[in-house]
Amino acid sequence: MPLWPQRVRGRLTLWYVGVLILILGAYLAGVSALLFWRMSDVLKRLGEEDLETVKGLLYFQPDGGVAVREDYHHHSDWKQVQERLLEILAPDGRILYRNERLGDRTIGGAPFDGEGVNGYSGRTAKMSDGTAIILISRVYVLQDRPILIRVGYRQDLIWDELKETLLVLLAALPLVLAGTAYAGYRMVGRALDPIGQMASRAEQINSERLNERLPESNPQDELGHLALVFNAMLSRIAQSFEQLRRFTADASHELRTPLAAIRSTGEVALQKKNSADEYRDTIGSMLEEVTRLTNIVENLLVLSRADSGQIKMNATDFPLADLVRETASLLEVLIEDKHIKFQLQGDQSIKVHADRLYLRHAIINVFHNAMKFTPVDGTITADIGRLDSARAELLLSDSGPGIAPEQAARIFERFYRANSATENGLRLDANGAGLGLAIAKWAVEANGGTISVASAAHGAAFSIKLIAA
């Protein structure tokens, strides 16, 4: 089993416990320091009182020595005070008295300059045998003789008390930690539960069942937001799948139509004996369908390469008007044949940044589409303008029958040929496979532009927005 848990739940619980241990550790250290400081302080105060007691219990022996009636019972609760160490010195450092507990050890050695002269002096010190003590001393003048009384209390006794307190606290620690770990584990589990549910729901969603969605319990919290985002992504995937499915179906249908024509033409021609001219006509008719098939396949290849990002744009700066004029001149015979009036308006100096070849392809397709639906003696207008400092627009409007709003949204789809067009005489691309505008849309967008149907009221207008140079 790895030491570091694999699941978020275990990891988070471990983190909780770890952080708690750190905090408790810091807390205990703080408490101990405070307690130690407080106890030392109290001990010093008690020591001052004790000094006075000792002073009161002090008497001079006939030989001039000093003694203390230590058998006098005093009532301190403090063990330290009960175990007092006592030393009485002459100002020159000579030891006048040591109590029994002290024996022949010394507290603090020779007095320092001014020790205990102006009130109590308290400090931590080491005895001659190295025991750490708290030392309080004061100089008293008794019977005209100055003497220095020192009382010492063993510091390890404070430590012992501290240890006891800490032990009590530490004994509770495992219980606290276990409780926290359990609560944390449960809490994390509760918090992560929706994720598990989402995961199992998501597992059931596959390409066949893309309509299923995750429950969006509370869109305000993070998990609800996640579900929302996930669902939006699912919608997009479902949409792409639907498009792909339709595209495949449409492509098969489009390829099937010329194939059916080739087949029937061939079969019918073989049913009876024909003249050479008739056979020639039959073969010619079949070849026409082959050309149609070839065109469809070629366009599909362009689109599939575009989809897979295989086509690289080679952008340059050039005047948009030049490209429009070039397109118009390429299609000039068709325009003249229908007596269409073509006008180029707007700022002819505007330059755009795009791949000239692919943009040209796009404009030719859009222009050709406009031309096909413009009636004899109609007009086509190309208007070039600047939208802002970064974008230029080519608005290509015609005087054709226009585009129904429900078609405007779909006109750039692949193979879309306005199904209803046959009934109401709107846009119908009789020869093409309905890929021209799809290719135009790709080419414009690959160059950082957008293409849309700008107005569909009187005639159609296509708006191509491009990056201005």
Partner: protein, 227 residues
């Protein structure tokens, strides 16, 4: 003129063979890369038409092998692979020209002829077919001695047809050679058709006898028909 066709697909090989023979070439067919390599190294050909998608040895291997032998025979590669990378690979391996399947047969013939007569670009300024005369330097066209006024594009179109007279010219060839378009668009086919119609109106209609014919499903041809 001897041509070696290396093509594994029988129908395609037969069609190429028949089509080239109809154009007065002598054709040998190899149905595998090994056979093609053997024939090309042991016999002499004026041109090799090489399919890249061969079983066993890849067409490109055959080509590099041939070029290593310093065979200077022109090679026209025919393939269904048409990305730029494929083209570059083919030309790097020593192909002289590259044609993507499915192609129009007149186009193949035009490329074959261009490769064979390469190095002798004798452009004749004065072209003639029956009672039609063209001076491409002076840019004038006469039929039955009468001047025909053509637009620049119509003139280029007629000149191209006249230079290829008697041979069928496809729309792809016109798009590439007359319109100088690199990609093919459906709109262009319409443009070509309308130009042909205009040309026919000026060239044929006033004079009775038809010179510009449409070969349905294939393209156009400029020729004198004796019917």
């Amino acid at each position: 003129m001897r041509i070696l066709v290396v093509e594994d697909e029988k129908k395609m090989a037969d069609a190429l063979c028949a089509g080239l023979e109809a154009d007065q070439f002598q054709v040998s067919v190899a149905r595998s890369g090994e056979e093609g390599f053997f024939l090309a190294s042991t016999q002499s050909f004026d041109l090799i038409v090489l399919d890249l998608g061969l079983p066993g040895h890849d067409g490109l291997e055959i080509l590099s092998g041939l070029r290593k032998q310093k065979a200077a025979v022109p090679v026209l590669v025919v393939t269904a692979r048409d990305t730029v990378i494929d083209r570059v690979k083919g030309l790097d391996a020593g192909a002289d020209d590259y044609l993507v399947k499915p192609f129009a047969f007149p186009e193949l013939l035009a490329r074959v002829r261009a490769l064979i007569r390469r190095g002798s670009p004798a452009t004749i300024a004065k072209l003639k077919l029956a009672d039609l005369e063209m001076d491409s330097a002076a840019r004038s066209v006469l039929r039955q001695g009468k001047e025909i006024a053509l637009t620049a594009r119509e003139f280029d179109l007629l000149e191209y047809l006249l230079r290829q007279q008697g041979r069928v010219v496809s729309r792809e060839m016109l798009a590439r050679d007359v319109w100088k378009e690199t990609a093919r668009y459906t709109p262009l086919d319409n443009v070509i058709d309308v130009h042909i119609a205009h040309l026919r109106r000026k060239l044929d209609e006033p004079f009775g006898k038809k010179l510009l014919h449409t070969v349905r499903g294939v393209g156009f041809v400029l020729r004198e028909e004796n019917s």
